[in-house]
């Protein structure tokens, strides 16, 4: 049942976003995340949302897959929102009941905070949704390669990451086998208290660990036999190339970032307030 399991959130689809260079996607996601923290106005949030929806559409992802990642932080968002709503005491008071005070500034801050978190998480999830773990590991290796100059074994770290990813389906399969074998001997995994259930996992984990060490030993021999570490100048078959679509992606996110900065720092100087132009007296 785990034979074809793809680890993580990866959503396979044939789109330009999926085919982008993983390094470009990593850096652009970083830029997007930084960009969101500069957003202060409703216009900025709208702009971010438009960018996000556009990427989702181009990537041929279902909206639900993006929202699913938000579900994970829903509780966090809710708690932070409540704290913000009741703790901010400055500004015009809207509602007051005993010690609970809701102010206009509080409402605005809360709405913006929720928007920021939701857009942040869904934006970051786009990376995991459109990039396979292997591509991510390769991309990270490539981005970290300058660290090799300060004697950090980037190549070995990348090899460890990719082998770990490679063995996930194998270990899943093995776990299933061990669980079946222990069940056949009368072990029960789904009854009793939580403590009893956790304890029931020990006879699964021990053989799993022992077998993993045996596998690691055999794998080490196999890698040695195939000349691992033969030369410092290890080459790579796959070479990521900077395509036209990568250029377009960079341009898009960079212009988004620039617009965010302009709207926050330059527009107020020349007396433009887009939020006021849209919402007028509502604010």
């Amino acid at each position: 049942m785990f034979k074809d399991v793809t680890f993580g959130q990866y959503y396979p689809a044939d789109s330009i976003v999926h085919k982008l260079d993983a390094r470009v996607k990593l850096l652009l996601t970083l830029l997007y995340v930084v960009g969101i923290f500069f957003v202060k106005s409703y216009f900025g949030f709208m702009l971010t949302a438009v960018l996000l929806v556009a990427i989702v559409l181009v990537a041929k992802l279902p909206m639900a897959s993006v929202l699913k990642s938000v579900r994970g932080i829903l509780l966090l968002v809710l708690i932070t929102a409540l704290i913000n709503l009741f703790m901010i005491k400055d500004g015009e008071v809207l509602v007051q009941w005993k010690i609970f005070v809701i102010t206009k500034t509080g409402v605005h801050t809360t709405i913006k905070m929720v928007l920021r978190l939701v857009l942040l998480i869904s934006g970051a999830s786009l990376l995991a949704l459109t990039t396979t773990p292997v591509e991510l590991a390769d991309g990270l290796e490539s981005l970290m390669s300058p660290l090799a100059l300060v004697k950090i074994p980037v190549r070995d770290i990348a090899m460890i990451m990719s082998i770990a990813l490679r063995f996930i389906p194998t270990l899943f399969e093995e776990t299933n086998k061990i669980v079946a074998a222990q069940k056949a001997r009368g072990a029960s995994f789904d009854s009793g208290s939580i403590f009893a259930r956790v304890k029931a996992l020990i006879p699964v984990l021990i053989p799993l660990f022992v077998n993993s060490f045996r596998r690691a030993d055999e794998l080490a021999f196999a890698m040695d036999a195939r000349c691992y570490n033969a030369t410092d100048k290890r080459t790579k078959m796959k070479k990521a190339t900077f395509k036209f679509s990568d250029f377009v992606a960079c341009l898009t996110v960079l212009s988004f970032f620039t617009l965010i900065l302009l709207e926050r720092y330059y527009f107020p100087k020349i007396g433009i307030n887009i939020d006021y132009m849209i919402f007028g007296g509502l604010l």
Partner: protein, 276 residues
């Protein structure tokens, strides 16, 4: 000069402080380039240790192994020897390094730092040689056992080896997978690659030009399959004859001499001759 030459090779495993295990004892033999050798013996007879000695994963405790004139103990040449002596292991899952098949085949050539174009052409060639070209972009975990072992062979072939060692590479496969792997190996041997197949199956051993049997780390029997099967020496090494040879041996005891029988084909031939 023979391609592979073992001179009085001993190998001792250190088990723990003060204790050790002699796995290979005073072994001398030679294998010519292009031979198809089956290496067999009971569990613990030293087969796998010998395999690991042949490509420099282990160094002889004493004695010497020469691979095309180069000692496997030569630190400067060890990677060259590993490239020339490829090895396929028993468990396909424990020798696949990459998730995607073509990446796994490219692992060896990448390790020895070949230029990118060269790697791509070698991966193409190796996958075609084992009949797995159409699977190149697939995930290795989704393949059958026989397919996984063919990919492992492709990974070795991409290094353009002189010798291919199969360390019980068919032991975990179903009969279909085993036939797939053995036919790939046979073809490579016909192209001039020296093959050393380590196996428990006498039927598989019968396919070789030569059978070498180890017993407790020593050379017990060395000869052509027909010769080895008719000598009656296998039993003393804890091995049994393949079914066809067993039948021929029993018929011979009853007075029907079928000549040299190693497999079904030679059994049929012997029977036909007898009834003429």
């Amino acid at each position: 000069m023979p391609f592979i030459q073992l001179k009085n090779v001993n190998y001792v495993y250190p088990v723990r402080e003060g204790a050790s295990l002699k796995a290979i004892k005073n072994l001398s033999l030679s294998i010519e380039a292009g031979e198809y050798v089956a290496l067999t013996g009971m569990n613990g007879s030293g087969k796998s240790t010998l395999a690991k000695l042949l490509n420099g994963l282990f160094k002889p405790t004493s004695g010497e192994i020469l691979m095309d004139g180069v000692s496997t103990a030569d630190e400067d040449k060890v990677f060259d020897i590993r490239r020339r002596v490829g090895m396929v292991f028993q468990n396909p899952d424990n020798q696949t390094v990459a998730t995607i098949i073509e990446d796994d085949v490219a692992f060896g050539p990448e390790n020895i730092g070949l230029p990118r174009d060269e790697i791509i052409s070698r991966v193409d060639e190796a996958l075609a040689a084992v009949g797995m070209s159409e699977y190149r972009k697939r995930q290795a975990s989704a393949l059958s056992g026989g397919q996984k072992q063919r990919v492992a062979i492709a990974g070795v072939l991409a290094m353009r080896p002189d010798v291919l060692i199969l360390d019980e590479a068919t032991a975990m496969l179903d009969p279909e997978g085993r036939d797939e792997v053995l036919s790939v190996v046979k073809r490579q041997n016909q192209n001039g690659v020296t093959v050393i197949n380590i196996t428990h199956s006498m039927q598989e051993a019968a396919m070789a030009d030569r059978i070498i049997v180890l017993r407790k780390g020593r050379l017990a029997i060395d000869g052509a399959p027909a010769q080895v099967f008719s000598s009656g020496a296998l039993r003393s090494c804890g091995l049994t004859l393949p079914p066809a040879a067993q039948l021929a041996a029993e018929l011979k005891a009853e007075g029907f001499d079928l000549g040299a029988v190693t497999d079904e084909a030679s059994l049929v031939e012997g029977l036909c001759k007898l009834f003429k």
